[in-house]
């Protein structure tokens, strides 16, 4: 079986998964009580039942559920996610589009930070298994994991933003004078604003990745070829970083793909704390306002990102390990 066939098969396999996702989200949402009505309008004395009925018809909520779903899928096939139910009636894609870059930027940065810190930590912990270093880092990464993110965020804001007054408290960039800044000043300004959010969104992930690297590394270090390399008298550094690490990191690719939904999910907390206008906040307010189209649109985007991540991980894997292409993969 060629690589192309493999790719095609994988891609086709994603289609039912994708529609499964939309189906589940659609029905979970619509089974819930409550209806999308611009919040206070519901309770407004000037809102007559007729007007309400008219709004429902405008939103298409008077049709049976399966009709609504079919309509939504039809739109999706034309890459149309529909219009928001909120009073601004904007296109869902426009709403997501303006928020997505910030969320992706922060998540990519925090992912990089996680990998840069967690991999060396994990490797060293594995090499020196059960040493003091191993134990201390274990406790430290678990401490970082165990601290509720919003609490850490506030403590950091209080310390760096108020007590030391060296970092901005919230927002994405300075309010005044930003437009006059040079490109590099702007970059610096963004960097200062993003230090805390990126840090907060990263620390929770350290534990997972460093522990994963550690156990994966331990596994590899037990393999024959590592023993062979050692027996050949190669320096320990070369053995570990050239031979062992490369193989140990392979499974991490899968984990990376799978961690996308979790990262975007975590965004709602730090975006709300740091007043960052990202997808997390959009999704949260959509949940609260029963803004079905926006909610569906967001879930679709996250699903697509995750599926893409998984696909890339698969391709990466297949490129490295030809056995997978031929369908020998039995576990996970």
């Amino acid at each position: 079986m060629g690589f192309l066939t493999f790719l095609l098969k994988r891609l086709l396999g994603l289609v039912p998964t994708f529609f499964g996702i939309t189906l589940i989200s659609f029905f979970v949402m619509h089974l819930a009580p409550g209806e999308p009505m611009s919040l206070q309008a519901d309770f407004n004395p000037k809102m007559t039942p007729e007007m309400r009925q008219r709004l429902r018809a405008q939103y298409g909520l008077d049709k049976p559920l399966y009709v609504q779903y079919a309509k939504w899928v039809k739109g999706l096939l034309h890459l149309d996610l529909g219009r928001s139910f909120s009073p601004d009636r904007r296109k869902v894609w426009d709403k997501i589009k303006e928020r997505l870059p910030v969320t992706i930027l922060i998540n990519v940065l925090s992912m990089v930070l996680i990998l840069v810190v967690a991999i060396p930590l994990g490797v060293r912990a594995a090499v020196k298994q059960n040493s003091l270093f191993d134990q201390v880092t274990t406790v430290l990464v678990f401490l970082a994991y165990a601290a509720p993110a919003f609490w850490v965020a506030l403590l950091l804001m209080l310390f760096f933003g108020i007590e030391l007054n060296i970092l901005p408290v919230s927002g994405l960039h300075s309010l005044m004078g930003y437009e006059q800044m040079s490109f590099w000043q702007k970059v610096l300004d963004w960097a200062r604003h993003l230090v805390l959010p990126v840090f907060v969104s990263a620390i929770g992930g350290l534990a997972g990745f460093s522990r994963y690297t550690r156990s994966s590394m331990l596994e590899v270090l037990r393999q024959d070829y590592v023993t062979t390399a050692r027996a050949k008298g190669l320096p320990e550094r070369v053995v570990i970083y050239r031979h062992a690490l490369r193989n140990a990191l392979l499974p991490l690719i899968t984990i990376l793909g799978l961690s996308i939904p979790g990262l975007i999910g975590g965004s709602v907390i730090f975006e709300s704390i740091f007043a960052i206008p990202g997808v997390g906040q959009l999704m949260w307010s959509a949940v609260m306002a029963r803004d079905y189209p926006v909610l569906m649109g967001n879930l679709v985007i996250v699903a697509v990102l995750t599926l893409l991540g998984n696909l890339l991980a698969d391709i990466g894997y297949a490129a490295v390990d030809p056995r997978i292409r031929t369908g020998l993969q039995t576990e996970e």
Binding site: G34, Q40, F43, N44, R89, R90, A275, P277, A289
Partner: protein, 548 residues
Amino acid sequence: MSERVFRSGRRFLQLFILLSGLVVWSLCQCPNGWAAGQEKPAYGDAIVVGSIGDASNLIPMLATDATSHEIAGLIYNGLVKYDKDLNLVGDLAESWEIKQGGKEIIFHLKRGVKWQDGVPFTSKDVLFGFKTIIDPKTPTAYAGDFLEVERADAPDPYTFRVVYKEPFAPALSSWGDIVVLPEHLLKGKDITKSPLARHPVGLGPYKFRLWKTQERIELDANPDYFDGRPYLDRYIMRIIPDPATMFMELKAGGLDWMGLSPIQYKRQTDTPFFKKNFKKYKYLSFSYTYLGYNLRHPFFKDKRVRQAISYAIDKKEIIRGVLLGLGVVATGPYKPDAWFYNPNVKRYPYDPEKAKSLLASCGWKDTDGDGILDKDGRRFSFTVLTNQGNSLRDKTAQIIQYRLKQIGIEMKIRQLEWTAFINDFIDKRRFEAVILGWTLGQDPDIYDIWHSSKTGPKQLNFIGYKNKEVDRLLVLGRRTFDKEKRKEIYFKIQEILAEDQPYTFLYVPMALPIIHARFHGIHPAPAGISYNFIRWWVPKNEQKYILP
């Protein structure tokens, strides 16, 4: 911003409605808004305001949230507005005549007013706004008052005439800033898809500059404003969803104006830093919070039971514990400084013994010794519903729960997400009791909340209150124009409500804005502080933001 009731909760909108179509944003008519004899105001600088929620739509008649109305209030004007003493005065209207015993109003409009794109403002814009708001295709929540209109026309560019089916006392006040729209930009277009929703063109003191969703909204001073250019060059609203972050941002210098919570007001802002850099204000907000009973429920049919609960709740304790003293006891559906407020109605001071004996007289006794009263084998246990994300209401509910338990009533608390709350519980009448609030208008008309014809599905008299005398008075109040006569009518209504206790009226909270000390010209008045916002200014040497 006079409506900037503190919201200690999340990004939920306040559980209030706008009773009057007229948004309370009102700008000072007189250019001499500052006290005489002071130094001359300077132009320049900007003000940064913090808001928990983002705006939704900047066409006022399409928006229902407080933030949208705050911003739109600076961009649009109405025919009339309330001045600092809450008197109705002309805004875009130079004057008006009331004819046919109140059935007809003729507005004479100001001349030379221009939309921000340079097109002159005329009576056609008002007529267009009116036609739009009553158009069944317009998804607005404010059509109600305008459906009372029989016909409206614009005989010439500076005259607008409206005739009502019957005399309608709240008529004049309904012609506020939600109904005036630029006809030349909207005519023949679908208002729900109009770009004006995000790039408004108004004729008010500020012009739209930019709106970054969920981040900030910026407005620039309108140099051609008909009532004089505002002093502050720019108005920036920053959206900060978390109240703790917002307060830190204030401290770090990133905000000039926000609404404080009672704890922040009392305990966190008396430091030398705040005294030097900020000024705090407090005044009664235009709202009240209540415990409402479902009067169809067998527990609450008897007014003695409701009275007993009112006696069992220590309202002063709630004001002490929840508002930290920053509020007053509510005795009825109005705030104490309104001209139609009746101070002499029956009150319910904290008296648990009286509560117990009242309950005993209705047959509620603890016969099985479990600490909870019972009657005919039924325990006195009910659930109170309130909305999520409002920490003041949440604490209030917990205090009430604690006090009721002491007289043998078990009250469970259930917090609900707003839309589910309204659709599935209030609208379908599936509730026993609620803790909610109403926003108050400047007009005493409360027909929609208390008239027995408004108890139908999805209507506002959701507790099912029916009183023939109140019904009669409510109708009479709507048809009466004489202020003294209206006052008498509404005094009587308050007496009946106080006796009946369909709600236990709890408290009127205070609005607690804090503003940076560099702003001059702020003079608290019955209308709050923001009525003269365009006359606020910063001396040249204190200006913080120099705009290019």
